[in-house]
Homo-oligomer: 116 residues x 2
Amino acid sequence: MSNVHEQAEVLENALRESDEFKALKISFELVMNDAESKELFEQFRSTQMNLQQKQMQGEELSEEDVEQAREVVEKVQAHEDISKLMESEQRVSTLINEISEVFTRPIEQLYQTEEE
Amino acid sequence: MSNVHEQAEVLENALRESDEFKALKISFELVMNDAESKELFEQFRSTQMNLQQKQMQGEELSEEDVEQAREVVEKVQAHEDISKLMESEQRVSTLINEISEVFTRPIEQLYQTEEE
């Protein structure tokens, strides 16, 4: 295995041991272990995916789509465990963006030299 | 600095020392140090960005756009140093995708448990 791939695995373990990922795991399991929370969270995700798909295909959203999405978002925001899960997801997503910015700096820097 | 951020920097250095990145650097500098190659490469990149922007904004491409893009691509493909640079870019891009897949596995695995 190349050094890059080895270091990617070391980073994988660091991510797995990070506070952000551990918090996500706890929040996720809390939601998944409760049938009602799980159903609402899955409903929220499928509603979101449905909207995204329609937007990507350039389809117009119907009033029903928008109303349904609004309702699910309201329920999810009022649900303590799911709100926490979404905050945890946001924090892990920020961390991943930070990691990606750091390890791709060599490329960023190479392409910048040309513009100076 | 958190362990994750530290490991991201270690990975950054591994990427900088990788064969893929070193080859990209050489190809890039070869193109940039020749005025004619540099101009053609920049023309190619601005043509691509222009097309992407139009597509993202849902604008239709004119016959002129398509013809211009076709011409630049042809010139670039016939240009040895630029072709090599594009191959090097492709290899680094593949490596970055591999790295991203590896270090985000904890999240992938967490969300999979639910579907099993």
